[in-house]
């Protein structure tokens, strides 16, 4: 977990700065990090809203990025015990990193390890966001620090880590083409949502 903390702090701080520039109050973005706790979806929601894309586009884009948590949660469902409330609360600490590092998707999955890593990352994420939100109140133009280019680079790095097979590559290529084609034609946010049509390349049975 230790190597992840600087990454999570840096991304949280970047999100905080971006959110303040996108007309989020500090409280709103800190509450978002504490409750949503899913970085790329939060950046997407804040970016879409900041670009003038509207609430619906921001929400749909963010939730589509988090749809993966349904199958991810199902892979570890058997390890959770106790009341519904407790399982619901513990499930909130399942994020990509805590899931992967605790053996998610394998028989070695350890719920306690996942909770420890997820809890630590949650503290770093909310703390980083708070630092960024405070900085963002002082910084008037985050683009002077290249934050917009940094987020594009971040999404690219996350994308590369998911290109594990030919179908994923085909979906990514088609998704990028759809987004580029629709950007001049639709309000911000819509091209991102429309890009999910690209999963239909997977319908073709091979």
């Amino acid at each position: 977990m230790a190597p992840l903390v600087p990454a999570v702090l840096a991304l949280g701080a970047s999100l905080g700065v971006l959110a303040r520039a996108s007309h989020f109050s500090s409280a709103a973005v800190i509450v978002m990090s504490a409750t949503t706790f899913a970085g790329s979806s939060q950046v997407a929601a804040v970016s879409v809203l900041g670009a003038g894309g509207g609430i619906v586009a921001a929400v749909v884009a963010a939730l589509l990025l988090n749809v993966r948590y349904a199958p991810i949660g199902i892979t570890v469902a058997q390890s959770f015990r106790g009341s519904i409330g407790r399982r619901f609360a513990e499930a909130q600490l399942v994020v990509d990193e805590s899931w992967a590092l605790s053996g998610g998707g394998t028989p070695r999955f350890d719920r306690r390890v996942m909770l420890g890593i997820g809890g630590g990352l949650w503290i770093a994420w909310v703390g980083g966001t708070a630092i960024g939100a405070l900085l963002g109140g002082v910084v008037s133009d985050p683009s002077a620090f290249g934050l917009d280019g940094a987020f594009a680079a971040l999404f690219l790095a996350l994308l590369v880590s998911q290109l594990t097979n030919r179908r994923a590559i085909a979906a990514a290529a088609l998704g990028a083409a759809i987004a580029a084609a629709l950007t001049p034609l639709t309000p911000p946010g819509v091209p991102i949502i429309a890009a999910t049509v690209a999963v239909l390349v997977g319908w073709r049975r091979t």
Binding site: A7, L11, F80, I84, A150, L156, A179, T183, A194
Partner: protein, 102 residues
């Protein structure tokens, strides 16, 4: 209520439910492989779209500006398997530098 707060609340509630689907809702089931396969492509499709819009969209226009330097630098960092925080820092520095000198 502001657009920001509505977004915070709806995304928060929706994500909490998505995370809880497995641990709360599923006892001993698995999704059909076909569904899992399609869901696994949602991430790449959306992330690729986000790369395009974050790097090139300016309102409803596609433009090439300093952000491309950040993407390129970040791509190099990602290819040499640099940690995520380094990708962010390198991407920000390259973008800011090109913006400064152009």
């Amino acid at each position: 209520m502001s657009a920001a707060w509505i977004t915070v609340l709806v995304v928060g509630a929706g994500t909490a439910v998505l995370k809880a689907v497995g641990p709360v809702g599923v006892a001993n089931k698995e999704l059909p492989p076909r569904v899992t396969e399609l869901l696994s492509m949602v991430g790449p499709a959306i992330l690729a779209a986000l790369v395009v819009t974050e790097a090139f969209a300016h309102g409803r226009h596609l433009v090439v500006d300093a952000r491309i330097a950040g993407v390129a630098a970040g791509a190099v960092a990602a290819l040499v398997r640099a940690p995520l925080w380094a990708v962010i820092v390198v991407g920000a520095l390259a973008t800011a530098l090109v913006r400064l000198i152009s």
